[in-house]
Symmetry: C2
Subunit: 432 residues, 2 copies
C-alpha cells in the first residue's frame, strides 16, 4: 500500500480537511481513555474456552514522524509486498533512507502521523466489548494489534501475548483477524507470513532452544480470519456512508452521481500469479451495489499504481479526469479495500485526485465517502465475523489453504501448513 504513499506523498501539503481529521483523531484519543481496561489474564491448558486474544492485523502507518524511517525500511524490505529480488537487502534500505525526509514532512502535514493505529486499537477494543456480551463462553476477549510495518509490530504483539499469560505452557487461544476485508498475498498473506515467523521464533522448540518441553507443548492455539469481503456489516457500513455522501448532492442529480469504488491496485505480475484480491474486491463492490439497489451507475477502479511495470486498471485518477472531461462532474469516490483512513484516502484521494478534478472544472462535485473508522455498524460486523469464526471451530478457511497457482514461495507454503495444522488442536479444544 504505502509504496504509493511514499512516492505520491512527496510533493503535496495537508489540507484543512486533513487538519480537521487530525483534530478528530485527537478528540478520539481522549475518548479512548474512557474505554474499559481489560486486565491481563492467566490461563492453563485445561481451562474453558476463554480468555481469547483477538489480534487485528494490518499494514500500519507511522503514528509520528519519528516512525517514518522505520516504517519505510520495513516496507521496502518486504518481498511479499515489493519484490526487489536478490538485491532487496541493499535496495530496500537505500530507497527507504532517501525517501524518509520528504515522507516525514508529508505525515507532519496531515496532522503528525497516520490515524491507523488509533482506529485499529479503537475498533479492536470496541469489538472485544461486544464479543464479551454475544459470546461469553470465550470471554474475556482481549484486544491486540499487530502491524506489518509500524508499531506495534508483530513481535511486540507476540511478546505482549506471552506476558499476558498466553502460551509458554499455558496454551490459550488467539485469533489472527485480518483487517483487510479482501485477501491478497501482498497484505494479509504478508502479515500471516510475519506472524508465522515470530511464532516459530518465540514458540517453536526447533527455533527456540530456551523453551522447556512444557512450554513448547503449551504454545498458543492460533486460528485465522482471513477474509470477509461481503459480510453484511461491512456492506451496510459502506452503503450508509455512500448514502450520506449522496445526500450532499441536489435531489435532481442524486441518482445520476457516478460511484467510483477505489481500491489499491496490484502489479499485473501478482494478478497473473492468481492473487485472489481483484475478484474479492469486485465481490464487495457488487454486494454494496446490490444493497444500494443499483440506483447509481458505478465502476470499480484502482489507485496508487507506481513505477514502470504494468498494474491493474482502470486507474482511479484517469477515470475521474476522463469522466469530468466528458461532463460527468458528480462523482463519489469510495475507498473499498481499507477500513480506516490512511494516506491513500487523506492525501491521494482528498488532495491529489479531487484537486485535479477541480482544476478540470469539477466545481467541488467530486467527493469522497467517509472511511469506516469508528463506524458502529462496521464494528458490530467485526464482532459478528469473530463470533461466527469462534463458533465454527475452524483454524482457517479452506480457501486460505490454496496458494496462488503461480506461487513459488516456500514461506507461504510453510505458513499455510502451520495454520491448517492448528485445525486439529482447535477441534480437540472444542471436543474437550
Amino acid at each position: 500500500m504505502s509504496v504509493a504513499q511514499s512516492l505520491r506523498a512527496i510533493s503535496k501539503r495537508a489540507s484543512p480537511a486533513q487538519c480537521l481529521q487530525a483534530q478528530k483523531a485527537r478528540s478520539w484519543q481522549q475518548h479512548r481513555a474512557l474505554a474499559t481496561h481489560v486486565p491481563p489474564v492467566t490461563q492453563d491448558n485445561t481451562s474453558s474456552q476463554g480468555p481469547t486474544a483477538m489480534v487485528f492485523m494490518n499494514m500500519g502507518g507511522p503514528s509520528t514522524t519519528d516512525e517514518v524511517h522505520g516504517f519505510l525500511s520495513r516496507l521496502f524490505a518486504d518481498g511479499d509486498l515489493i519484490p526487489l529480488g536478490p538485491l532487496q537487502g541493499y535496495l530496500g534500505p537505500f530507497i527507504a533512507k532517501r525517501r524518509t525526509p520528504k515522507i516525514q514532512k508529508q505525515y507532519a502535514d496531515i496532522g503528525g502521523g497516520s490515524p491507523i493505529r488509533k482506529w485499529s486499537e479503537y475498533q479492536c477494543e470496541e469489538m472485544c466489548k461486544i464479543l464479551d456480551k454475544i459470546r461469553p463462553e470465550s470471554a474475556p476477549h482481549k484486544p491486540y494489534v499487530a502491524f506489518r510495518y509500524a508499531d506495534p509490530l508483530t513481535e511486540e504483539m507476540y511478546a505482549k501475548l506471552l506476558e499476558d499469560g498466553f502460551g509458554k505452557g499455558k496454551g490459550g487461544r488467539a485469533v489472527a483477524f485480518t483487517q483487510y476485508p479482501q485477501y491478497s498475498c501482498s497484505t494479509t498473506g504478508s502479515s500471516l507470513n510475519e506472524l508465522w515467523k515470530w511464532r516459530q521464533r518465540m514458540e517453536s522448540p526447533r527455533r527456540n532452544s530456551n523453551l522447556t518441553a512444557a512450554e513448547a507443548e503449551g504454545s498458543i492455539n492460533w486460528s485465522v480470519i482471513d477474509r470477509w469481503p461481503t459480510h453484511p456489516g461491512l456492506v451496510e457500513a459502506f452503503a450508509q456512508n455512500i448514502e450520506a455522501t449522496l445526500q450532499t448532492y441536489p435531489e435532481d442529480v442524486r441518482d445520476s452521481v457516478v460511484l467510483l469504488y477505489s481500491a489499491h491496485s496490484l502489479p499485473m505480475s501478482v494478478v497473473n500469479r492468481g492473487d485472489p484480491y481483484p475478484a474479492e474486491v469486485a465481490a464487495t463492490v457488487w454486494a454494496v451495489q446490490q444493497r444500494l439497489g443499483h440506483k447509481n451507475p458505478y465502476r470499480l477502479v484502482w489507485q496508487s499504481q507506481v513505477g514502470p511495470s504494468a498494474w491493474l486498471g482502470a486507474q482511479t485518477s484517469d477515470t475521474v479526469a476522463n469522466l469530468v472531461k466528458k461532463g460527468q462532474k458528480d462523482l463519489v469516490l469510495i475507498p473499498i479495500a481499507f477500513t480506516s483512513d490512511h494516506i491513500e484516502t487523506l492525501f491521494e484521494i482528498d488532495q491529489e485526485v479531487i484537486h485535479e478534478a477541480n482544476e478540470l472544472g469539477a466545481d467541488g462535485r467530486v467527493r469522497r465517502a467517509e472511511s469506516l473508522n469508528g463506524n458502529p455498524i462496521f464494528i458490530r460486523g467485526l464482532a459478528d465475523i469473530a463470533k461466527s469464526h469462534l463458533d465454527s471451530g475452524e483454524a482457517c478457511s479452506r480457501q486460505m489453504g490454496l496458494r496462488c497457482p503461480g506461487c513459488k514461495s516456500e514461506r507461504c507454503l510453510e505458513q499455510k501448513k502451520f495454520f491448517l495444522g492448528q485445525n486439529e488442536r482447535n477441534n480437540d479444544a472444542v471436543a474437550l
Copy 2:
C-alpha cells in the same frame, strides 16, 4: 470469444465426449420439434402490453462448416471485439480467409458445428412459454435470436420482427436480452451497437427515406436486459452442476477438490479502459461460492488468451498445469461466463486443458462441470429476469448508460443515448 477459437482450434481433433455432445444436440433437435409454435402476431399502437418480442443476443457460432467463413469474416471485422485499427477492413478478411479451412475441420470434428444456435433457440422458446404463464399481461412472448457473427444475424432477426407485425407503424414492444450474464463492451456492447445500427437502418426516418411518417412514428419500443451476473437462477444452476461434478469424486477428497471458475479473458487494454466484465464475472463466482458454502477452495481464472499483447490472468491452462504439478490433481473447471457449450468448452477445456493435465499425470481427475444448456433451473431464472425487467418499466439499467471511462467510441455513445431514450416511450406505454 472466437479469436482464440480460431487459433486454438487449429490442431486438435474431436473426442468421444464431443461426439456424445453432438448426439445430444441431435436428440435435442428432435425434442425441439415438439416445442409449441408461436404464430405471428398483429399489433397496433394502442394495444395492451402484449405481444412482446424476446430477443436473445449472443455471439453465435457456425451451425455448419459452410458457415465458418462468414462467421470468421464478421468476427475479424468487429472492432469492438478485435480492434485492428484503420486496417481492419483489409486485415480482417485476410485473417478470416486464411483460417477458414482449418477451423472448418475443427467444427467438423466436434460434430459438424457449434451447438449455440440450438441451445439459444431452445432456451428462448422455453423461457417464453414460462413468461406467458407468469406474466400474461405482456403475452404472447415471442422468441427471437440475434447472433453477432453467425446466423441468425441481427438484420435477419430485425426483418423477421417487422414481418411478424412489430414496428412499421404498429409499435410493439421488444426486449433485447443479452445472453452474456456479465457485461463487456466486447460482447453485449458489440451486440447492442449492432442492434442499434440495424434499428437505425430499418426504422429511423433519418437513415431510411422509404419510411412513411406513420411507420417512423410507430417504430418498435426497445428495452434492454444488459446484465444479470448474480441472478439466483443462474447461481443455483451453476451450483447444482458443480455439486453434480463433485459427486463424481470419492467422498474423502470431495471437499479438497479445487474449483477453477474459467471465463474468457480480455486484453488488458480493454480492462484498463474500464470494462465492467472482470468485476461482474468475479461477482458471479463469489455468489456461486457463497451458495456452495465455500466448502471448496477456488480461483477465478481466465482462458483463451491469444496474440502477443497482455491479457488478464491467471491463465486457466497455466493454473491447471501448475496445480497438477504441485500434486493437486482434483480440479473442476467451471465455464462461468457463457450459458451454453461452445468451442471454448468442448474443445479448449475438454480437449486441450484436460488433455495437458492428463499428460502431467492428472489421471482423469481434472473434470469440467456441465454447461447450462437446457438446464430448467437456468431457464426459469431467465424467465424471472425477464419478468422483473418487464415489471420495472425501465428501458435499461442506469449502469448501462455509463460508458467505460476510457471509451472513445462515438457509436457506443449514440447507442446508449438511443436505448436510454426509449425509457420515456416505455414509461408512457406503462402510463397508458
